[in-house]
Symmetry: C2
């Protein structure tokens, strides 16, 4: 790989040129055309200048149009290219002439479609490298920067926050940018970079490692061209900012799809297993999981402990609760005699149980008992974290009033708010008996991590604890 | 274990006596009290006679009341006991005097609460065994039999169908009885049997094995007292009717909860692994999964094949699709040259791909292309089943109109309806971006299996194919 200048100059862009803007737009994908991008920049209130380029028009969508890249008033920080694949090499040459810094090629139909596309890519790469251009794409959706009102797609919200997302897939970026705010967090930057012809994940990672807006770095990767550089960067950055990675294409059929998607060659599962083991980066397997891990880091104070006390409501549910916690790598210790006695002071064993998990339908609908139980668990040095598992049965059982009262209680009780010992809420594991997502969202808004299933809660807590264990162990070396 | 008479006499009951009926009822669990049960039998329109027993009343909830079990006009097929634990032994003696056949003890507070409860259980067992009573429970919710309008809990629907459920947990039974009809099926019988003092899972299984209303047997188990008998029964019955088992308490913490729930001793994971391997019974890990497996058996014709062709909409999504299918044990073969060529006749590779998975946003919104693609795949002898994965991106992408058109199309296209090659639909894997459950429900009503996640779809199909492979291999021995 030829090295290009570090990514970061001219980013976030103060001015953007858009090449390939028609006056009319019949496509069903408004975010992917020049005109769609232009409208999106306008409607989002992008902070900088926008220069549409079209040799035959003077005004499009309220913007003054320029006939060529070289005729715009200043060298563009970013040129966004949406012209057909065959026309891209000429535009790249124009970018060099216009002294552009960054170039984003949205256009698809390159290496991912076969040999002809690969030849075209190769030509673009030669031209751009000679001109020192930093090219993102092709086959990408580019940037999302809430601090300058730059949006990646018309339906993603502009919510600023500490999470960065570097994604080889525009689709995944879009889903994550929608899901993040529902999980209670916003974004510093999101970058969809497609085929990684010149700029690749390591370039963006290096930038985000020192970006003051970014506290957690999430990545969706299909392939990495310079694996050694990537590994060194992750090893270094992960100690300061958690690096959460979803590596797609670890199976044969996933890898085949990745080749067809971004022309990526992915590396074997063994290689990636070693990568995660050596860097301590956090591996996840879906956008949802990535979001839950980010939420966990943002809402709970650092802990390497995995010993949980779990409340469940219902006998069968409490058995499942114990199994799920253990299967997902958490420890569910039997309570000490003291803790057990303390709980039995006000919990009867008929239709309930104070083994850990604690099967206490009465406690989750009786707020003073819930607080009393929490205080006993918070005082137990064998317990690191308290999980309140509200399964399907809970949401069917009490009236809506009780659910709302419990909700208010969790959000207002000083003991829970102070996080003397972290409390997380896991909602229905079993099917779709009730839609509990809006309930979860309001808990998160108040700083209580809420997960849409116990299994996912446990998985996120396990990864969270593993991270701090790794960081702590490395610090002692 | 002392053997009792086979379960089945007097079941479903033609007459029921309820002991422990108060005139007023302050509890928050209406289904668990005598009065609650009485009202439930009345409101459900139970087909037989109901005899409340109370020495001090003459009429409760519109039923004539009897002063004692022996004063009711005929020997009861079923006596339901809801009196406090300490009063149960006397009622059991009364049941013998009244020549009752089956006795259901709802009351909790026995073996699961400690030594005193165990002693009380032991006494009940002695009395009942001497009198030849078939006792279900204690600590249970009893029976649900739609064909005679007998309901287990006030909020579960009475939907008849081919699925039986034998559950040591009343809570799980309740959730499954609600979830089943949403997944498109009803129930022959459901039995919540709690502590299994006398009647245990093998007794119910033996009955269901020859019950003409039952086609699939689902079970939630915490412990089995006579493991050898159970294994022999499963081995025999599973060849005719799939036996789907969720064994709860396979971890230490799950087992601790099970001991506290139904006083069960569960057996190790190794023992159960061997059990599933030898019997070919289908292991699942949640109510949701149990429901999805049952749905699969009911809606797809028998097949031992695991080779799938998968449609996905979106590049990143297609990579995840390939990974998930492979991780869950399905084969996603690369297409033959002929199939690939056939697809390329009308699918462009720009922003799409015809690797398997097939990344075809255009095809899933263009109905004639979808049918054309399906016909090519249906003619490919390397493919056993076609999966249409509509991820979060799909539900964000097209307008609602397109989704509804696609929906109508899937439901009406003769090729799909004839099931020349099974088509299943897997909905959004990623989070809760859209609620797709009602969409899934309407597909199921038309005979198309629809799953709320691709991972769950693959898992169910894999178990389904493994079952027929096991049955086929056994038949050849």
């Amino acid at each position: 790989m030829s090295q290009v200048r570090r990514f970061g100059d001219g980013f976030p862009p103060k001015n953007i040129a858009v090449v390939g803007v028609s006056r009319n737009d019949q496509t069903s994908h408004p975010g992917y055309t020049g005109l769609g991008l232009l409208r999106m920049l306008k409607e989002s209130g992008f902070h900088g200048n926008v220069y549409p380029v079209n040799p035959y028009a003077t005004n499009i969508a309220g913007f003054q149009v320029y006939n060529s890249l070289t005729s715009i008033p200043q060298p563009p920080d970013l040129v966004i290219i949406t012209v057909p694949a065959a026309a891209v090499p000429q535009v790249i040459e124009d970018c060099i002439a216009a002294r552009a810094i960054n170039v984003q090629i949205c256009t698809s139909g390159f290496g991912e479609t076969g040999e002809e596309g690969k030849r075209l890519e190769h030509r673009i790469k030669e031209i751009a490298s000679q001109g020192g251009l930093r090219v993102i794409g092709p086959n990408c959706m580019g940037f999302h920067v809430p601090s300058v009102n730059m949006r990646m797609h018309p339906d993603v919200p502009l919510v600023p926050g500490p999470v960065a997302f570097v994604s080889q897939s525009g689709g995944h970026a879009r889903i994550f940018l929608i899901r993040g705010p529902e999980l209670g967090f916003g974004f510093s930057k999101a970058i969809s970079y497609g085929n990684a012809l010149i700029l690749d994940a390591p370039d963006f990672l290096e930038y985000l490692g020192t970006d003051p807006e970014t506290g957690i770095i999430c990545m969706y990767l299909e392939g990495i061209k310079d694996g050694r550089r990537f590994m060194e960067l992750v090893r270094k950055i992960n100690h300061k900012k958690p690096v959460v990675i979803w590596k797609g294409g670890l199976t044969d059929s996933g890898a085949r799809a990745a080749a067809s998607h971004t022309a990526s060659l992915g590396g074997t599962r063994q290689v990636w297993d070693a990568f995660f083991k050596q860097t301590g980066a956090i591996q996840v397997g879906s956008i949802e999981e990535m979001g839950e891990v980010a939420m966990t880091f943002l809402l709970i104070k650092p802990s390497a402990g995995k010993r949980v006390a779990v409340f469940a409501a219902g006998g069968g549910s409490s058995v499942a609760t114990g199994d799920i916690c253990a299967e997902e790598g958490l420890e569910v210790p039997a309570f000490s005699e003291q803790t057990r006695k303390g709980l039995l002071d006000f919990i009867t064993l008929v239709n309930q149980g104070v083994a850990n998990p604690i099967d206490v339908p009465s406690v989750v609908v009786d707020f003073s008992s819930l607080l009393r139980a929490y205080e006993i668990l918070a005082a137990d040095p064998m317990i690191d974290i308290v999980i309140l598992h509200l399964g399907a049965e809970f949401f069917l059982g009490p009236t809506q009033d009780v659910i709302e009262e419990l909700h208010k209680y969790i959000l207002s009780a000083p003991a829970f708010k102070s996080h003397a010992k972290p409390v997380v809420v896991a909602l229905s594991e079993e099917g779709h008996v009730k839609d509990t997502d809006s309930y979860a969202q309001s808990l998160r808004k108040k700083g209580i991590p809420a997960y849409n299933s116990l299994r996912r809660a446990c998985r996120a807590i396990n990864r969270f604890a593993n991270y701090y264990e790794f960081i702590g162990a490395s610090a002692r070396l």
